[in-house]
């Protein structure tokens, strides 16, 4: 059975918005005779092993969308701990953390963030997960190689050639449909809560999540810190406050997404930070 008219209405409106004003680094491909045959394109974020690649994601909307998340398949081959060889994507947004309001744009931005901060601790491709944990450089190299073989076209895909949506990293534009992007109210936060924490109000992580990076030297073998136990897939850089790109070692502050507007600058900065460390 097809989508309900309400869902279709919601989807077509979102697609029109995404076409005219897409978030940084993601695009949608819309099929005129079937609005539900949506594909997304995610640009490999700079500073990650996926840089230079374009990753195609197919959306499958079940009849209960948006009450039930769409099924998303990564069509482009990729080496990533949270994406299986068959293209399944394991991200909380598409499962437990799904919310009706999310839509296509949020999913694509989340996948983009997952490219920046893989989550090896809930690996779907456990080889990639293990690799990332044990040998970060090796993981990067292999992922980069896979990107260059499978995801890097000779010419920029047409969707990304539209000049109107290009924005320079130094002049970040707010993400379109910003309201789509916020922390889910029940973010699974780290499982390693400090043992002395007893008050449920402070320990519950419904709105606030602490992301801390240990100060490390930017050598070739260190990797972006936020993928440690504290970082969850959901805590993508769009939710972080804006660290200055030039100060990657500064620990990130406690951020409440409900108060801090998400900015692409965060994503850019995060990506840059990754670049420096690599």
């Amino acid at each position: 059975m097809a989508l309900t008219p309400q869902a279709l209405r919601l989807l077509s409106k979102e697609l029109v918005r995404l076409r005219s004003d897409p978030p940084e680094g993601v695009r949608v491909i819309v099929d005129e005779d079937d609005l539900t045959a949506v594909e997304g394109l995610v640009q490999g974020p700079s500073g990650t092993p996926y840089e230079g690649g374009y990753f195609r994601i197919r959306f499958n909307f079940g009849p209960e969308y948006p009450n039930i998340p769409p099924k998303c398949t990564m069509i482009t081959k990729i080496f990533h701990p949270n994406m299986s060889k068959q293209g399944e994507i394991c991200v909380d947004t598409l499962k437990k953390g799904w919310k009706r309001e999310y839509g296509v744009g949020h999913v694509l931005v989340t996948i983009k963030c997952l490219l920046i901060y893989p989550n090896p601790e809930s690996a779907l491709d456990e080889e990639a997960g293990k690799q990332l944990l044990a040998d970060y450089d090796g993981y990067c190299k292999y992922a980069r190689l896979m990107t260059s073989i499978h995801a890097t076209p000779k010419i920029t895909p047409i969707e990304f050639r539209d000049s109107s949506s290009k924005s320079s990293p130094s002049a970040p534009t707010p993400i379109a449909g910003l309201n789509l992007i916020h922390l889910p109210s029940s973010i699974p936060s780290s499982h390693s809560r400090p043992p002395n924490s007893t008050s449920s109000t402070t320990s519950s992580s419904t709105t606030t999540t602490t992301v801390t990076t240990t100060s490390t030297k930017p050598t070739a073998s260190t990797r972006p810190a936020p993928l440690q136990a504290h970082a969850q897939q959901e805590q993508s850089p769009v939710m972080l406050s804006e660290p200055t790109a030039g100060e990657p070692e500064k620990p990130l502050k406690t951020v409440s997404s409900t108060k801090t507007p998400a900015k692409t600058a965060g994503a850019k900065a995060g990506a840059k930070r990754g670049l420096k460390r690599l």
Partner: protein, 1012 residues
Amino acid sequence: MASEMEVDGAVPGVPIDEGLYSRQLYVLGHEAMKKMASSNVLIVGMKGLGVEIAKNVALAGVKSVTIYDPNPVEIADLGTQFFLRENDIGQPRASVTAPRLSELNTYVPIKILEGSGEITPDMVAPYQVVVLTNTTVTKQVEINEFCRSKGIYFISADVRGLFGAVFNDFGKDFACVDATGEQPQTGMIVQVEEDEDAIVTCLDETRHGLEDGDYVTFSEIKGMEGLNGCEPRKVTVKGPYTFSIGDTKGLGQYVSGGLFTQVKMPKILQFRSLKESLTQPELFITDFAKFDRPATLHVGFLALSAFYEKNGHLPRPRSSSDASAVLALAKDIHKSNGGQDEVDEKIIETLAFQATGDLSPMVAVIGGFVAQEVLKACSAKFHPMQQSMYFDSLESLPHELPSEADCQPLGSRYDGQIAVFGKAFQEKINATKQFLVGSGAIGCEMLKNWSMMGLASQGVIHVTDLDTIEKSNLNRQFLFRPKDVGKFKAEVAAAAVAEMNPELKGKIISYQDRVGPETERTYGDEFFAKIDGVTNALDNVLARQYMDRRCVFYQKPLLESGTLGTKANTQVVIPFLTESYSSSQDPPEKSIPSCTVKNFPNAIEHCIQWSREAFDSLFVNPPTTVNLYLSQPDFVESTLKSSGQHFDQLKQIEKYLVKERPTSFAQCIEWARLQYEENYVNEIRQLLFNLPKDQVNSNGTPFWSGPKRAPDPLKFNVDNALDFEYIVAAANLHAFNYGLKGESDPAVFRKVLESIKVPEFTPKSGVKIQVNENEPVSNEPNPDEDIDSIVNSLPPPSSLAGFRLVPVDFEKDDDSNHHIDFITCASNLRAANYGITQADRHKTKLIAGKIIPAIATTTALAVGLVCLELYKIIDRKNKVEDYKNGFVNLALPFFGFSEPIEAAKQKYGETEWTLWDRFELEGNPTLQEFINWFKEKHNLEIQMVSQGVSMLWSSFVPAKKTADRLNMRMSELVEHVSKKPIEPWVKNLLVEVMVNDENDEDVEVPYCLVHI
């Protein structure tokens, strides 16, 4: 706990018929059902209420039901007593009813208690539960005193017009074993203090869901091992993720891990006798909007009984003199009870006016409720109602009240209804035309009520259901008998209720259609023009949403209801007044992340999900793919084109068609054995190779901790029942795929298993790291080349003409097909890998089969509530406060009612609109005309136009394409974009638009109906 229930002892050696009771077992559980099977129930009074209770109790399954009513059948009884016929008039009620009740459940004998006149204490002595209906208060007190002295559970109940009353007395110490019926809470913990009132902290992904006073025990805790398997500890809730459990000093220092599990503790309840309750009733509230009414009705019902005892009859319909006599009695009773305020005279008068009234929907509500109370008494499952309940649906009265003359009995079967609503309203009921969607549990109950009400005796009922009758339906879909299994539900149900009320003969039209876009030719403009409204009796949300859309489109009222175990909800949707069914939604279903299912299960649900997926990927998908390869000439080409999965699919075809195609059952056993090795040994070893048990995260914490449980490979053992059963199920299903004969002889399996050589497994050393990026990737096959070689190695479909595999079609209710067996074994083996508590077949079936627990009591009650709303719809009430949406949970018990929510008003420009509004355009305009119409008439700038899944036009469509389209008529445009013809019977198109207002702001507007 079990004390009195075991007076007769359980029937030994008679196991529960799981096929029949399947859905109810998921509500009550085996324990409760066993206790019920030793209870003998007596029901006194076989008018409508008595038979409704008897029906529900018999369906549920008790040791025996005995009925008592020696009085002769009267014509008015036929208005609610669905097992009486016109030619029974004059016969004793019990003796004509018993044979029909007996057909409901072969496991429950229906006995007739002999006797004449009123019931006496010695007659009730042999029973465990006694229910009195239609008896005076004096008689009730007499029987209650006796029952109390003998430890017999006592219930009395009555329906008077739109009022109902129930009283429970389950004795001085009634041990209720499960007060809520909810699954015990369980969850992972990360910290336990060593303290006087130690606080337990949950893994913060999950709320503990406990309440103060709940009890828990623990397992798998490291460090504070003293808590593992401890006596249940009482919980004080500290927050959503924390609770305290009392003193843990001296139990050691908590290190890590652990699970808490809720333990249900018996709750001891004290009941007062009816005699005491007469003056000091413990009132149970059913509607907080009328919280002071039960006290009035308590006095009112006592006054009615007193009136009857004095005058030998109940107050006559709308008789002022009788009503004032009742009011005087009520005032006396109120005063002698020490009542403070004045009694509500209006309510007492109305009760007296309706006292001879007897309404099928009210009987259904009270009868469903009381039957569940009987089951509570028998089984100690769920919390009994304490102690006096008074329920009314006065809002169902027509806004124009009938006159006294209009309510007088006519010697018709509808006299009980006429006494309340009057003859004129009865005619409106008779003339009603309804569409009933679904003829399952809710549908059967609905048709029963409708036939009793005389609904459509001068109108029509359309009823559709695509299903045929199955055995598991017979437990609650009471219009069906064992001989009907396999027949169409709608047809059998229609025939059954036409028997109950012959006036409906020829008035019910049954269909076997699924409602949906594909049947809109049948259920289209003409059809909807002929009906007054729609009643849903559906079992899934999608169909409900679909019917809701149709009702909004055709602007018809919709009655909606659903049940889940002991819970029920009802909703009324009224055009231009309320929101629609789809306006509110249940919270999104939480699915299990794929990485949890694939690598990190920590609960049996994860294993069952894995196992259910394994079932498809072993027995359903590969044979389906193989058949596609064999039957579609261009399959490889079209598969290649769709890309993504082609490599895997071809590998699968190769495996199933060439490499592993069995020719004997022995080979199926071998296949099953190797499958075992692959899933429960090799894959686990590979995972542990990739992520060893001592793997640490980059911050030094162990990788395998918290929700990630480290697995262990299994070792196959033919003497292990689980291992062996897995092989039996898997081999038989594999054989089924190839059309090979199945086998169940253990000896055959053993013989083959002994001879199988299982290849030694060496974990693959993982990803090879390329030192140089220019180096070719050795472990990445060149997909194109590889595909060609596979395709070439496959036998061409022509060489296998006619050969097909047989994909398994998952059927949860067939106990001999190995489906649930396989899923249970596969899931439990995986649970064994991960040290997760296993689940039995029954529980696995519930989860894997997504079974919705169901019981007749809840359905009866829900449908009664729906029909009480139907009276209002027939009366065309037009204020939200006239209607009630209901939520009920019989287990607690709990009733909640609310006004329907008004349709939300939205606004563009100065125009307010709701979901019931739309734009209408005549004459199949061109796109240009369409756009102009919005601009000129509504000052709205079109940004996007869509119809169904087709985007007809949007502002980013290139200019040339736009120019082409502007001149197309809407119908042409739809055909042009969708590349599909519009069916000839389609008269209008539903078009959605996205528009900007004059300030270039995006505004929400209704949909458009374009006539073509």
